[in-house]
Amino acid sequence: MSLDFKFAPDDFGGFFRDETFRDTFTYRNSDPRRFPFPFDRDDYMYSVNMEPHVPGRKGTAFEHMLDVDEHYIAEMIDRAKVLAEDPLRCQSLPHMTLAGWDVLELIMEAKARDYPQWFSLTKDGNRWHWVNRPLGIEQSFTFLDESTLPYPPFEYIMRQTQGDWTLQDERDGTLWMDAGIATSQADWSVDFDVGMNFHEWHAPVPLAHEKGVFDRALKFLLKLQHGAPVRRFNWTMTVNPLLDTAPETYPKWGPMRTTLTQENMGQKMHLRVELQSLYRLPRSNAIAFDIRCYLCSFEQIVEVPKWARRLHRVIRDLPVELATYKGFIRNRDAMVEWLSKYDDGAPTSPGWFPDD
């Protein structure tokens, strides 16, 4: 694998978009209705909000266990660039290799099952053959034998998988984030946080500790069973469709937050949704945590009238601590002003999905 993906959109009926998450920022959603809009009501506060991660409505991000969408190839190119610039974004402590194999198996099996036109996995005992057509990868290897892959198992599969992932080891009654990759994160550092336990890595989050959110979430997760994954949402805001908003590079992307006007708000401001899913792994008993990032510009969100009304109300009424932590306090008033034009005050229906 290298940075030089042979990108040929026509090979797959033009399904995969040729687009960028940096410099020219050509990222766009062909159909905003596919976006996993995270608000099921007109206000927002932290909660554990877990639900079973089961296949959902066709044509949405929930159709399959792992969503491979039109941004797949472009995201993998962006990830390869980030890792080339900063290899510390992918780390795995020595005892996490088995968990790395577990997650490689989980992902290869899911993709081969749900997207047979793009991925295939054939097994002859521990001799496995993996084909990833969109990225032009074909690999024979021996499962559980690190010497047969060009990267350690965790990094190997992560270079072919959308979303940031962490692997949690379970010991002493808590979870330890002992491996992780982050190239599309909302301002947290893998390098700083790797090796921390559940309460330690959540330490900077305001309000939630006092509400007992993390104590409840940990209790819930320790009971997570193999074969019964769960999911939840998180969200924030990003100026420009920038996947990589790492603290490491904050001096580079932070200034973009000062470029907003009422004229460019719709195009530049993006709702950033994390569809988080958690899987118990069979051999290591570790927990894999997928933080999948979806971006949608304000101008595309307001194409859905229910979402336009709701987003205005959520942003307007959000506690100031949360707007500060999520990093958009300086732009909140301008965002509310822009969104208010798309909110006629009509009631909204419960749930996430568009009305039509």
Binding site: S189, D191, H199, H202, T249, T258
Partner: protein
């Protein structure tokens, strides 16, 4: 971005280690690592014990002066421990600790006392050898100067007193985030004027 600095007396953050007074415990070997006013925590611990001479007979004491110059080494030297070592600084102390750990068996008790920088770095070496959490006691005494990692360049600045401060490696203006990594044994420093270059709030002495 408007950054709210945490008051010095704010409740501790969840990622910060929990410190408590050292207690004498039964053990085959007592590894005592201290700097700064941590020497007083060690003598207080020994004063509480009813088998002081047994502990000292199996004790290896390592000490270095604190970042503001406090040197209580004679106080520990006169205790009569099986082994006593005075290092000039923390980096000069750690290689000896690593050597001692190579021979330490289960049943060893660890007592760390003094600055957070000393405690964090010693704990990191001990944990790397696989000793359980429960065998390590930590008591914070003396200087509150912080060891801070710049999240941007990854360089560590020792003995940070003010917030914000200038990274000693890349020169960015950093605020000290109340987020602590045991693996790095440091707090996190984040650029304060990324969104408004040059608009750096006046430095306040938060750590002494």
């Amino acid at each position: 971005m408007k950054v709210e600095l945490t008051p010095v007396n704010a409740p501790s953050m969840r990622s910060r280690p929990v410190y408590a007074p050292l207690e004498p415990r039964p053990g085959k070997l007592h590894v005592i690592v201290a700097d700064d006013e941590g020497a007083n925590a060690v003598t207080d611990m020994l004063d509480k014990s009813n088998n002081r001479s047994e502990i000292l007979a199996d004790a290896h004491v390592m000490y270095c002066p604190g970042p503001t110059g406090t040197d209580l080494s004679t106080k520990l030297e006169v205790l009569g421990a099986a082994q006593f070592f005075r290092a000039p600084t923390i980096p000069a102390l750690l290689p000896r600790l690593v050597r001692v750990l190579a021979d330490a068996h289960m049943g060893t008790q660890f007592y760390l006392a003094g600055t957070e920088g000393l405690i964090g770095q010693a704990e990191r070496e001990i944990m790397a050898t696989g000793f359980p959490h429960a065998s390590i006691q930590k008591e914070h005494r003396g200087s509150t100067l912080r060891r801070v990692q710049c999240v941007h360049c990854k360089g560590i600045t020792e003995n940070v007193a003010t917030d914000p401060f200038k990274c000693s490696h890349c020169g960015l203006n950093l605020f000290v985030r109340d987020h602590y990594s045991r693996r790095i044994a440091a707090f996190q420093g984040v650029n304060i004027d990324a969104e408004d270059p040059g608009q750096v709030p006046e430095s306040v002495v938060r750590f002494k």
